[in-house]
Amino acid sequence: MSFIRCKQLTRTYMRGTEAITPLESLDLEIAQGKFVALMGPSGSGKTTLLNLLAGIDTPTGGELHVGDTPVHSLSRGKLAQWRSEYVGYIFQLYNLVPVLTAYENVELPLLLHPLTRTERHARVSAALEAVDMSDRHSHYPRQLSGGQEQRTAIARAIVTRPSLLLADEPTGDLDRETGTAIMDLLKQLNQDDGLTIVMVTHDPATTDWADTLLHLEKGKLLEATT
């Protein structure tokens, strides 16, 4: 059975009196441990799909299962709890909390879990080590380069040991060299830890790291390339 299963997944919202449907009746299955890249023009529904997979938006139709969880039917509170346990999310603009250090940013998701301070410290240190940011743990985001900020954001996404990692254009704000390093890191996490990764991207070069490439247009899946 596939790890992610979308069945007739639809998202419609109202803009004034006009109904907008960025995602319409999408059927999709992704196996566990896959690295999937989502491409498509602006407004094709990539980010909407990513948000639905992350549980930060809810579908207006259809079903979405991740593992054994029927994500489409979870309440707000249950969705939040599910996100904290199973999902890691990487943003294009890193979105680190500016008044917290790299260490404190990475620690944020763990505060939701009943861990001791020592257990939290061990997990944060391991996550920072995994992204090669241990020596910058006490730096604030403003003191880090773009690549270092994104590494910290990745550490924050993986510190809870999620089973699903979602990335919204993770190299979109980085230069080519740094972007390559970030993609290498994501691939390493995918291969070493068996993380399922779904990544939205505009950059065809970053699809080289993915196992599967999905093309979306006008809210529908056009083709899948393996």
Partner: protein, 390 residues
Amino acid sequence: MRGAVGLLLRVVPVVFRTVRRSPIRTGLTVAGIAVAMYMFTAVEAMRTGVRDATQASAEDATLVVYRENRYCPFTSRLPQWYVDRIERIDGVRAAVPMQILVSNCRASLDVVTFRGVPEGNLLDSLDGTTVITEGTVADWQHRGDAAMVGRTLADRRGLRVGDRFSAAGITVFIAGILDSEAMQVRNAAWVQLPFLQEAVRSGGTGGDVTQFNVFVNDPTRMDEIAADIDALFKHDERPTATRPEKAFVGRAARDIVALADFAGMLGWGALAAVFALIANAIVLAMRDRIRDHAVLQTLGWTGGLIAWMVLVEGALLGLVGGLIGALGAWATAQLGRFAMTMEGTSIEMSTSFSTAAMGIGLALLLGVLAGLVPALRLSRRDIATCFRAV
């Protein structure tokens, strides 16, 4: 720590860091709250002092006999021999003739009030809670120009036993310091009656006095005895007006009482300012942190948890500002020992810590209340909308 309470406690340090690491916003907000709470606490200390000085209690047993239709110690003149007739009235335990001389008859924060009492009557003239903390009655009786100085007056003027000090045109030698629960005792310098009568050129012993302090046996008969005293001298050359001491203070210091009532409104205004300051700071902070809150929600934080952080932040700002302002006002009252004196009666600014504690508690409460609406609104926002708003 596990469970919901553990979760709530685990996120509190995040709020502390956020507040501490936004020094300009936090500093300005806390400074504003501190100034307003300083004002509120100072006003409350003044109002508490007024209440303590003028609100009658069941234990009050002192009447003040003053010259009828006179409102200033300079114009109230009663023959000292009235004392024998007052003491013969049923229910009167003792009556003490008293000459009063003040350095300023108008309302002021630093008036020196001299109270002259007969040489053998010092302790009888004072409230039952009075204790002599330095010097002795014998020291006071030994010198004609000796003064027993109330603790508040001594602290305010920096007076010590053995010092000489001058006010209202007379110079006295300080023979002792006394303390009392009675405000009028703490705020006066007690000298021998003939000395003060001589000083105000009223003819020495057997001449005029300003007032009589009359102590009654049964506090429930205060009004009855006051009426008896006034009836006794009604057709005399110098009729009297007798009131319970606290009512007398309330009448004499009515301008101060009115001022305190007005200041009370300013105090409430200060609280409203605190509320507005915290609410404004939180609303602005919430706007700045829309993205941060959306990120936290993406990480799995619930809207309720973020609302809790907002409430903690409001409480923290209120608490820190309240602590600085209220403790500042309390320390000022402690060090300054301010007493507003009018027509020879004194009303102290309360130095009780309970006033400061009330200020701190109110600031904390206002902080929570100011964060309530933003917290509720935040808890209902969905993540996608927050990201779109950035």
